[in-house]
Symmetry: C2
Subunit: 300 residues, 2 copies
Amino acid sequence: MNEFALIDTISDVLGDAAIAPWISVGIGDDAAVMRPRAGFEQVASIDTLVADVHFPKHAPANLVGYRALMVSLSDLAAMAAVPRYALIALTLPDSSDVFGEHWLRQLAAGMAAAGRATNTALCGGNLSRGPLSISVSVHGEVETGQATLRSTAAAGERLYVTGALGSAAACLRRQQLLPAQEDALNDLQRAYYQPAARFDCRPEILAATSAIDISDGLVQDLSHVLKASGCGADLYARSIPLGVGAELTDALYGGDDYQILFTSGRAANAGLCIGELSSVTGIRLDGKEIQLNGYQHFAT
Amino acid sequence: MNEFALIDTISDVLGDAAIAPWISVGIGDDAAVMRPRAGFEQVASIDTLVADVHFPKHAPANLVGYRALMVSLSDLAAMAAVPRYALIALTLPDSSDVFGEHWLRQLAAGMAAAGRATNTALCGGNLSRGPLSISVSVHGEVETGQATLRSTAAAGERLYVTGALGSAAACLRRQQLLPAQEDALNDLQRAYYQPAARFDCRPEILAATSAIDISDGLVQDLSHVLKASGCGADLYARSIPLGVGAELTDALYGGDDYQILFTSGRAANAGLCIGELSSVTGIRLDGKEIQLNGYQHFAT
């Protein structure tokens, strides 16, 4: 099956997940065309997931596809954006039965499910030969001037997370990344493969003073907010919500749950308070300074 | 050097190529934010260039970067869009001296040059570990309802190309893809490494009845227009403009020049007429039926 036949196959599987009222031109031309909403800005992010770096190569393809779109969309949720569309650039190994048409159909079905769950149109993409990887560019909209940034937190504000942390990291730690059956995941596998980009928390994120999604671990991602905003933070171990099967270190350094960390000067309905921002730089856990050692793609 | 330090390095090299008046939030947050222009639609495309599939791994990095952005932008030019911004997802091999900081600076400098040449802000991206590849999502704007499609050509119209074809293919055929010096390219190497996305032809593309950029070869890309529009074409060999060093087969099947093929019912100032559209399906060269055998990424 050649490139163009494979694209037709993907297009068939996506079905209505490829279109939306705001898409003027979808799959099949040089580029997709979208109508922007008046009074809104465009929000855009790109991520790449490489096989055996960011997901197990032999994981069920529908889980890989679902997760790839959700973890990419999470960046839009952290900006308080409404998702609109995504472009998928897929690189597939040469002449492989494993990554042939059946695998591609499963991958597309997983992506379509994540697209439908978030109202994101999968309106374009690209297919190349090469080592297995998936790049996803995601696009949303936010009221002009209202995107929630990393750089606008201030000492005295409270720190919140949108949900329990650490279960996805526990899935890795316990080496459960290859589920026996793709439709019978345990809690840890669900946390890893089926994160939900937290668009349901948009009112809180829009009202927050700063936000970031937790992809590399609470401590690592918090440090980005602190660096950008020029302050420090005090965390309270007892307040950090642990997911099923998670230990505190999973929550602090694990990442992969794709909850959102945000700051606010007032109580947030959708958030769990885990600490507060300080004018003293650094991060302290119950008063004791802690170091950054979350996941770093390029650590030496 | 860790991921975040490398991103700072890239950001430094990009300098003013990362910003533009329409960018509200650039590099350094979860996502970039752009202000759309009233009366315009958003046009978006994504491409991946894999090392040793789409470019030689050991080619000078500034040439690789320049070309990666230009070939991606070419899709926007073919829709009659004005370029606005791009996101770059770079996957770099582990612990390699070759693809270390110096290489990355050169790559970013090449991309910045292409960005400046086209007024495209490089406002976001992602860095991952993995086999060397570059995914670029490109974004532009076109007057609402005015994007030029593949599907709107009609029998009786003339076929045009925006410039000479085949030199990039001749560069591959003659195995000249690794220039001795990156600042002393010959004509074939210039054609391959320094294509210009043809935004200078926007008036003609906007007025055209259909358009597509020639990435996979004239015959292959013409066949997409014909399939989408439901017609055939007659090409005249003498009219096909050959680039320096190119033979007719380079022009017909080679691709990689990134000229634009477009159709029009009237004479086009910026185009060279190479044939006409027919109600008889298929492609004929001087009256003789020719087959598709341009570059197919997935041909078996």
